[in-house]
């Protein structure tokens, strides 16, 4: 199965019944598959007129209670930024798939990249936190897409599947489970204000039509949902809560695997470079080479770095100029060595082995 098809199938299995999208290489197969499959499960596929509209449509659908998703690539992702900020501010659960390609601008439409990782983290204006998943295989395209819906509903936040052309167009055999775990969106308790958070800082979801006078606004709002854009305290409390509901749950959201925790040299990867590093570790069979493989990149699982107690250096192969490497630098005292790669090709295992030789 192709990665993009696995993504669409994972979404449908997770109960996604609304897809609003716009064609863009290399993500188009997701929209095409949704157009084919959603009508058969009583879902809605809408082709929107552009990516501003795609992102806006999944926000609208989400407020009616539907699990909703869109899929795009760099240029479309840039257009979605305004509405992504709106989804964050209004705490609208939704899933955005970015099959990354080489940028900036239209760049390399048919080549893989990981250049949008920081745009995903910080691309819309203002302070906020989101959740970003990064699959390295077709199997993970399926699983992480399904998981994205649960996280979106649990934290009432847009969740990003930050894949790329390589995994999106890769074909691998996968195991499809009979059913995927589904965590339902928690509903609002009777007598509670619509934006009053529970202890986990997340308010219950007052779906349109459930009897609440729901008022949804991108302006700074109080717990009733009414705008109050000039109160410094209210704004600070709201933005801090939007950030903290994600950051305080960092360890719970974290999803990674570790190899050789006693290692001195530790690769940190997400997405396709993980495959090359796995090959390197297998080939060399040395326990002084470790691997931290992230499936969740944002919020960044900093405590995972401490699991490598003997680490002397961290190597970070990324298909960008070192976006996540810089994040790792913030958390460790050891040297962090970015291994950037641009142009669309993946780091080859030989290339990484040669790099290890140089560092020796």
């Amino acid at each position: 199965m192709q990665g993009n098809i696995a993504c669409a199938e994972g979404a449908i299995a997770a109960g996604c019944r609304f897809f609003g999208g716009y064609p863009i290489t290399p993500s188009t197969e997701i929209a095409e598959h949704m157009a084919l499959k959603l009508p058969k499960v009583d879902g809605v596929f809408i082709q929107m007129e552009d990516e501003l509209a795609s992102m806006a449509s999944i926000i609208g659908a989400s407020w009616t209670g539907m699990r909703s998703m869109t899929a795009t690539s760099g240029p479309g992702f840039s257009l979605m930024m305004e509405n992504i900020g709106f989804a964050v501010m209004t705490e609208t659960p939704c899933v955005v798939v970015n099959i990354q390609r080489g940028g900036p601008s239209t760049g390399q439409p048919t080549m893989g990249a990981q250049g949008d990782m920081m745009q995903c983290r910080f691309g819309s204006h203002g302070d906020y936190s989101v959740i970003a998943l990064s699959p390295a295989s077709v199997q993970e395209m399926y699983e992480l897409t399904a998981k994205a819906f649960n996280l979106a509903d649990e934290f009432r936040v847009p969740v990003f599947l930050m894949s790329d052309e390589i995994v999106g167009h890769m074909r691998e055999r996968i195991d499809i489970p009979d059913q995927v775990p589904i965590v339902q969106r928690k509903s609002l308790q009777k007598g509670t204000l619509p934006f009053h958070p529970d202890a986990d800082l997340v308010p219950g979801f007052p779906r349109f039509g459930e009897g609440y006078g729901v008022h949804v606004t991108g302006l700074t709002h109080d717990e009733r949902g009414y705008p109050c854009a000039t109160s410094p305290g209210l704004h600070e409390d709201l933005v801090m809560r939007l950030v903290n509901k994600i950051e305080s749950a960092r360890d719970r959201i974290a999803d990674y695997s570790i190899t050789n925790p006693e290692a001195e040299t530790v690769f940190v990867t997400y997405g396709p470079p993980a495959r090359s590093v796995e090959q390197v570790v297998r080939d060399l069979g040395r326990d002084d080479i470790g691997h931290l493989r992230l499936r969740v990149v944002w919020p960044f699982p900093e405590s995972a770095l401490n699991l490598f107690a003997s680490a002397k250096q961290f190597l970070v192969p990324e298909m960008n100029m070192g976006q996540v490497a810089r994040e790792i630098e913030r958390h460790v005292d050891q040297p962090v060595i970015p291994i950037p790669k641009l142009g669309g090709n993946l780091h080859s295992p030989d290339e990484l082995k040669a790099r290890l030789e140089v560092l020796r």
């Binding site: 716009y22 095409e32 082709q47 007129e49 552009d50 239209t106």
Partner: protein
């Protein structure tokens, strides 16, 4: 080498054999001449005509992004005017770039009275990304995002009438054309680039790959669209239709049966109900524009 001047839109590009859009580009520059700047949206045209060494453009050419060729053109037009320069500016986009994602920028440029010509090569779907429906895809055409099957007969909506929308912006000259009638198309381009203010031409550009026919039939298919009344060639000046291509109409089936995108209307059995709806679209077109040749008794 010959002494003949090069085409301003040169040979050797990467388009499919029989590409209606490539023909449109050649005709546009033959009509507009070398004193022209072209702003081209993302799309098939951009991708097949620009990579070196198959680059076709022998006039200044800029790729806007997908949605904004009219806005880039606005900047070019305004600054040329300030410098007292006389180049013609043509914004070129496919139907997706024009009737869907580019709508906002086009509307803005027309409302500001920008002195440019917008030409939409209408191949009735997003062909560059592999045949997805657009707002210009005809009723019942099967595309990858309007697939015909158990739940659908293909695209469920008729084509958006962008010429009428832009005429309503007060455009002095709006025309439709077809690559199947090249002389007519060139005359219209010449008229548009020489008319002050924002002008619009939508040229029907059959796509053999996306519609499913052999490349040698591009012109025949283009003619059939007009002969069945599913495409109408007309000119509008200051909001009034002033010239219409008249035809002796054939039934729409003559056009539909030639293309794989309508194949589901004939297999496994002929879908008379849906074909009648498409015939109605042609009948309405004929009535609205007065295309039918009426023989005197």
């Amino acid at each position: 080498m010959t002494d003949e001047p090069c085409n301003l839109f040169d040979v050797g590009h990467r388009a499919c054999g029989g590409c209606g859009a490539a023909l449109a580009a050649r005709l546009i520059l033959e009509a507009a001449g070398s004193n022209t700047i072209v702003v081209s949206s993302t799309g098939c045209m951009e991708v097949f005509s620009t990579p070196y060494p198959e680059t076709s453009w022998r006039v200044p050419w800029i790729h806007s992004l997908f949605e904004n060729n009219s806005a880039v053109a606005s900047g070019i037009v305004a600054s040329l005017k300030k410098q007292g320069r006389t180049e013609k500016v043509i914004a070129l986009g496919g139907d997706g770039a024009t009737v869907d994602i580019g709508m906002l920028c086009i509307s803005g440029a027309f409302e500001r009275g920008t002195d440019f010509t917008y030409i939409c090569y209408d191949n009735e779907a997003y062909m560059n990304t592999g045949i997805q429906r657009s707002g210009a895809t005809p009723y019942d055409a099967s595309t990858t995002t309007s697939p015909a099957g158990k739940c659908s007969f293909g695209n469920s909506r008729p084509k958006k009438d962008l010429p009428a929308i832009l005429a309503a912006h007060g455009a002095p000259y709006v025309a439709t054309a077809s690559v199947a009638y090249p002389a007519d198309f060139k005359k219209k381009v010449e008229k548009a680039v020489n008319t002050p203010g924002p002008c619009y031409i939508q040229v029907h550009a059959p796509c053999c790959t996306g519609w499913g026919f052999e490349g040698e039939k591009t012109i025949a298919i283009g003619k059939l669209a007009i002969e069945t009344g599913l495409w109408v060639n007309y000119e509008m000046e200051n909001g009034e239709v002033t010239r219409v291509k008249k035809v002796r109409r054939k039934p729409v089936e003559a056009y539909l049966t030639e293309q794989k995108r309508f194949r589901h209307l004939f297999r496994p059995t002929k879908n008379d109900v849906e074909i009648a709806k498409i015939q109605q679209i042609a009948d309405r077109n004929a009535e609205r524009y007065g295309t039918d040749i009426v023989l005197k008794k």
